[in-house]
């Protein structure tokens, strides 16, 4: 009986841990920044236009030197690209999947580099928020800890 219960308890704990792990994986949110830019000192140069389609919906069309972003959860993202290399060339559809590193919140993908078959270290980089740079300039926020209920009530609205 006791062993039986132990078994059940262990099973439940395992299930909870498994759910946690699963949530960490499928729930991890990332922002993918897609660039249509040339990279200096390399042969990768911007395309004429790239259409972005995510989950069947068109996000935007990236003209040269433009950037757009997609938010998603999970460890990989699949986007359909409508590529127009130069003004004259026709639109070529391509579906691509990016596997993203877990600990990066924002990932910048240089599409021209990627499409031209560059190495991951070249086309993928971490997005650094400008807000962090600005941090020192932000007015210090003072935590309010003794609100009366009358103020707190406004939250309810």
């Amino acid at each position: 009986m006791n062993k039986r219960r132990l078994f059940f308890i262990a099973g439940t704990l395992l299930a909870v841990v498994a759910i946690c792990v699963l949530c960490f994986i499928i729930g991890r949110g990332h922002t993918l920044y897609l660039d249509n830019k040339s990279i200096e000192n390399t042969s990768y140069s911007s395309y004429n236009a790239i259409d972005l389609v995510y989950k069947g919906e068109k996000v935007t069309t990236l003209a040269a030197r433009e950037r757009s972003s997609i938010s998603f959860t999970g460890q990989s993202v699949t986007i359909t690209l409508g590529i127009k290399k130069s003004k004259s060339s026709s639109v070529e559809e391509k579906t691509v999947t990016f596997k993203v590193p877990y600990n990066m919140d924002g990932i910048v993908i240089n599409l021209p580099a990627y499409l031209d078959g560059a190495d991951e270290s070249v086309y993928m980089s971490e997005f650094v928020s400008m807000a962090i740079v600005d941090e020192t300039n932000v007015d210090d926020e003072v935590p309010v800890t003794d609100e009366f209920a009358i103020e707190g009530a406004e939250e309810e609205q």
Partner: protein, 365 residues
Amino acid sequence: MKNIIEFLKKNIVPIMFIIICSICVPISGFSVTYMINEVMTRLTRNAFLILSLLIPIMAGMGLNFGMTLGAMAGEIAIVLVSDWQIWGIPAIVLACIFSIPISILLGLFCGKMLNMAKSREMVTSYIISFFMNGIYMLLMLYAMGPIIPIKHTSIKLPRGYGIRNTVSMLNNRQCIDNALAFSVGGVKIPVLTLLIIAAMCLFIIWFRKTKLGQDMRAVGQDMEVARSAGIDVEKTRIIAMVISTVMAGFGMVLYVQNLSSFSTYSSHSNVGMFAIAALLVGGASVDKASIGNVFLGVILFHTLFIVAPTVGTKITGDSMVGEYFRVFISYAVITIALIMYEIKKRQQKSNAGKLLAEAQNKEEQ
């Protein structure tokens, strides 16, 4: 006729509220769809939290202001999950799971304390919630950052440690409410949330039929008799407290996902106060509360909550008065309901005397 009077007497608080609401709603001039939509939102937002109050009442521990502790646990879990950048439904599940150990610890602590203050649970749990609020603030203001790593500047105070006044969960905004949701005549029905609340109701009904539930009911009605029958009264009460705290933690997570942001340093206290007020409005008393009381209470209390500012403004022409009016009402409800409860108790007591006098009259005839 006598039955009707009895019925009115028993349900005086809800009836009072129905009357107030039926006067205020037309004055406010809100459309029916708007009202239903708002009430539905608030019902799904608050019902789970209020349901968490039922189990301690069953165990005779009165209205548990200790649910504030559960709300704190939920908030801590949400802050962590937000910082880990988990989004959507997995974030909600994870926040619930992480709130459990914190809730259990707080519930154990609160249960032990309340065992030392039997029959004064309400005021004791109220004060404990203030005390724990201090510890919670210490954690949020100083430990979050240096001790518990917090990475993101959207959560952290600019000074480098501590949590901002408001934590927003924009990426999780109503993710449960929107799942499976559909709209009927302009009223959004958040199906998944309703299913979760229904599951909680079923749990409570099922729980009443378990041995533990039976023991809690016994302890709630007569501690000494339960003890003499061999029930571990202290332990049962602590378990009731722990269950309630864990439930309140879940409830808080649901509440926050609906609002999509919360004020770090005050929402838990408000949540506790409003939940208790709503339950009392629904006709519950310190020693008796049902699932029906929860839903009736949420609907009545929040209907008034929605219309009060507008009504106040319309009558006085000052929007501050409306706001004041709303808060005033919630405290007034608690006071009135508690006083009614005491009066009823006293009436029951003097009934014994009446019976004696009647018995004497009968004998003489």
